[in-house]
Amino acid sequence: MSEQSKVVRFEEIALQHLGAAYSLARWLVHNEHDAEDLVQDAYVRAFKFFGGYYGGDSRAWLLTIVRNTCYTWLQKNRGLVTESIDDNLDEAGLDFADPEALLLQQADSQMVRQALQELPVEFREVVVLREMEGLSYKEIAVIADIPIGTVMSRLKRGRQRLHALLAKRMGKEAKVELSANA
């Protein structure tokens, strides 16, 4: 195999996931320039390891490298401490079945984006991978390096927190509207 064909082969496999890679990095680090640098670093690293890739889920493979590159960066530059999540815990007091059923479909994009950005990164990443990239629990488990059961419990807690954050914001807006009308 010549060197030329190696880079072409890698590009064929890897560049189709560039959008998913960029979006994940952007959601993890919150900043477009850092996200661009980190995705580029991750792709160069993936290319170096390409000899160790023997087919399989290329998207999960790439997103794993992107995710790890971002985590390393967060630990170095944002003082991120991982293993801070106790997966045996539940979100006390955050239940979906509150008496005033929220019409979440009415939440605007800005509001949802902000709420998601406020989530701890361990919850944010599973929500992003599930809802935006449509990945299965199994794929998320590989990328985030957690058991499948933990994927479900983190999704559950992430959604509970998101729901609570949105309820708070929408409640405030409703009050503002009410007082404006009064």
């Binding site: 060197e3 160069v44 290319f47 979440l104 949802v112 809802e131 949105l166």
Partner: protein, 258 residues
């Protein structure tokens, strides 16, 4: 399925990750429980607000080109054109030969001296003698039994002393093979500690000064006297072992003086 189980598993149900049996059980429960049905609707609402709001970030235009060029650059770096490699060849060769010299010199420096080799053999012999219960070929505390035993087995006659009165009783002796020659080993005991005294004719200058060293946790003392080389090895502490050596030498010197 009860409400608590449903609230645990309803996320897997929404995500289509449950098996058929569990899915049917959840559906059954949702039909009959308003609270859980509401939770389910809220999760669905949350999911659609996450998917409908174009929350996925799209890479900026030109980003793919940027990544491509970074990859090509990496590819070039890992596969340098051959003329570049030739340029580095003399430097590489020089480095290699410098390394080689370094390795050879280091090897010479680290090569054990012959006395280290002997010390190692003696410690091994000492350890082996206790492991295989082959401490003694001739078992006697009588120096007049032990000394003649070596005759005909060795081309020299080792001096044999009993130091029982001083707390180091002679237990016997055996033959061993150290430094490519047969040697005499006299076995003493101090309390529970066996002491092996190796004796053979010295081949060089007499070394009246003791040299103590530690190998694998055993104390060793060597000296030479009256044309004989002595090595003593034991797990005994150094002070007592030195006392033993002094007793041996004292007796020898007393003999010489006589």
């Amino acid at each position: 399925m009860n409400c608590q189980q449903t609230r645990e598993l309803v996320h897997g149900y929404v995500d289509g990750e449950l098996d058929l049996v569990k899915s049917l059980e959840i559906e059954e429960h949702l039909k009959s429980c308003d609270a859980c049905a509401q939770t389910y609707e809220q999760i669905r609402g949350l999911r659609s607000s996450l998917t409908n709001n174009a929350l996925r970030f799209e890479p900026p235009s030109g980003f793919e080109r940027r990544v491509r060029s970074a990859l090509r650059k990496q590819d070039d770096a890992s596969a340098k054109p051959s003329f570049l490699r030739w340029r580095w060849l003399p430097a590489g060769a020089a480095l290699m030969s410098a390394l080689l010299v370094l390795i050879v010199v280091a090897g010479m420096l680290r090569r054990p001296s012959s006395s280290d080799v002997v010390a190692q053999e003696i410690v091994s012999s000492h350890v082996r003698s206790m492991m295989a219960s082959h401490l003694l070929d001739v078992e006697s505390s009588d120096q007049h039994t032990v000394k003649p035993w070596f005759e005909g087995k060795l081309d020299f006659s080792p001096p044999v002393k009993d130091l029982k009165a001083q707390g180091f009783p002679l237990n016997g002796g055996r033959l061993d093979y150290i430094g490519n020659r047969p040697v005499a080993v006299l076995v003493y005991k101090h309390g529970q500690h066996p002491i092996n005294l190796f004796v053979w004719p010295s081949d060089g200058t007499p070394m009246t000064n003791q040299q103590a060293s530690v190998h694998q946790g055993f104390n060793l003392i060597r000296w030479s006297n009256e044309g004989m080389s002595y090595w003593v090895v034991s797990d005994l502490n150094l002070a007592e072992l030195q006392q033993f050596v002094q007793l041996l030498q004292g007796q020898n010197q007393a003999q010489v003086g006589r």
